[in-house]
C-alpha cells in the first residue's frame, strides 16, 4: 500500500517543475531581451540584418518561455498541447505572412499615378 502511494508521489514530483527551471527561464529571458535591445540602440548592423536578428531573438525567447514557464517539454506522450499549438501556429503564419505579402505587393505594383486616377476618376477602392 505505501509502495503504491510512494510511486504516485514520485510521479508527481517528477512531473512538477522545479525552482531551477524557473530561474533558468527567467535569466535566459532577460538576456534574450537585453541583447536585441542593445543591438538596436547602438545600431549594430544594417536594417535588414538587425530586423532578422531581433525577430530571431523574439522567437528564441518564445521557445525558452514555452519550455521553462509553460512546461511544454514536460507533457506526457499523446502530446495534444504541442499538436494544437503547431496547427494554430500554422494558421497564424498563413494569416500574418499572407497579409504582409499581399499588402506589400499591392503597394509595390500600384504606381502613384494609377492611385491618383483611381481616387479621382474611379470609385476608389
Amino acid at each position: 500500500m505505501t509502495n503504491v502511494i510512494q510511486t504516485t508521489d514520485n510521479l508527481k514530483e517528477n512531473r512538477g517543475p522545479k525552482l531551477s527551471t524557473y530561474i533558468t527561464g527567467f535569466a535566459s529571458s532577460i538576456f534574450l531581451t537585453l541583447i536585441p535591445y542593445f543591438l538596436v540602440t547602438n545600431h549594430i548592423g544594417s536594417t535588414y540584418v538587425l530586423l532578422t536578428v531581433i525577430l530571431f531573438f523574439a522567437l528564441l525567447q518564445m521557445i525558452v518561455q514555452l519550455i521553462f514557464f509553460l512546461h511544454l517539454g514536460r507533457e506526457t506522450k499523446p502530446r495534444w498541447k504541442l499538436a494544437v499549438m503547431i496547427s494554430f501556429v500554422g494558421i497564424i503564419l498563413i494569416i500574418v505572412g499572407g497579409s504582409i505579402w499581399i499588402m506589400a505587393h499591392l503597394n509595390y505594383s500600384m504606381s502613384l499615378l494609377q492611385l491618383n486616377n483611381l481616387m479621382q476618376y474611379g470609385e476608389g477602392f
Binding site: M1, G16, Y22, I30, I54, A58, M62, Q65, F69
Partner: protein
C-alpha cells in the same frame, strides 16, 4: 480502499489534464487574434497620414522597463505555482500578491504612455499607424486587466477557503494565462518598439 484512492487520484489528474488542454486551446485562439492584430500593425505601420512616425513616438528605455517588469511578474507567478505544489498557503499568497503588484505597475506604465500620446494629440484618430498601435497594445492591456481581476478574486478565495483542489486548478490556469501574456508582450516589444528604433 487503496486502489480506490489511487483510481481517484488518476481520475483527478486526467480531468485536470482535460481542463488544461481546453484552456490551452482557448489561449491558441487568442493567439490567432493577436496574430491578426500584429499583421494589421505591420501593414499600417507606414501609414502615418502626415502624423508622427513610430521612431518619433516611442521611448525605448521606457518600453524596456515595462518588459522587464512583466517578465519579473511572470517569474514570480511561476514561483507561486511552485509554492502551490508544496501546499504552502502563505507563500502562494505572497508570490501571487507580488505578481499582482508588478502587473498593476505594468498596467499603470502602459496607461501613462497612452495618456501621454493622447495629450500630445497623437490619439488613435490621428493616423492608421496609431489606430493599429492602440488596438494591438490596448488589447494586450485589456487581457492584463482581466488577468489582474482574476488574480485578485483567486487571492481572496485562497484567503477564505485555503488551497482546495478546484482552486489550485484555477491557479494553474491563471499562471498559464499570465505566461502567455508575457510571450505576446515579447512580440509587441520586438515588433512595435524595437522595430521603431531600427
Amino acid at each position: 480502499m487503496n486502489s480506490v484512492t489511487t483510481l481517484n487520484l488518476k481520475k483527478e489528474t486526467e480531468n485536470n489534464d482535460k481542463t488544461t488542454l481546453g484552456f490551452w486551446i482557448y489561449l491558441m485562439t487568442d493567439l490567432v487574434m493577436f496574430g491578426v492584430l500584429f499583421a494589421t500593425y505591420t501593414v499600417l505601420r507606414g501609414n502615418t497620414f502626415g502624423g508622427p512616425m513610430d521612431r518619433n513616438v516611442f521611448n525605448l528605455p521606457f518600453a524596456l522597463s515595462e518588459t522587464l517588469i512583466l517578465l519579473t511578474s511572470s517569474f514570480t507567478c511561476g514561483l507561486a505555482i511552485l509554492a502551490l505544489q508544496q501546499k504552502n498557503k502563505i507563500q502562494v499568497i505572497l508570490w501571487f500578491s507580488l505578481t499582482f503588484i508588478l502587473g498593476i505597475t505594468f498596467l499603470i506604465l502602459e496607461l501613462s504612455e497612452f495618456s501621454k500620446l493622447i495629450s500630445e494629440g497623437n490619439s488613435w484618430q490621428r493616423s492608421g499607424f496609431l489606430s493599429a498601435y492602440f488596438t494591438l497594445v490596448g488589447t494586450h492591456g485589456l487581457h492584463i486587466t482581466a488577468g489582474l481581476i482574476w488574480m485578485i478574486i483567486c487571492l481572496f478565495k485562497i484567503w477564505k477557503e485555503g488551497l482546495t483542489s478546484s482552486l489550485s486548478r484555477k491557479l494553474t490556469l491563471l499562471s498559464l494565462f499570465w505566461h502567455f501574456l508575457d510571450i505576446v508582450w515579447i512580440f509587441i516589444f520586438t515588433i512595435v518598439y524595437l522595430m521603431s528604433g531600427i
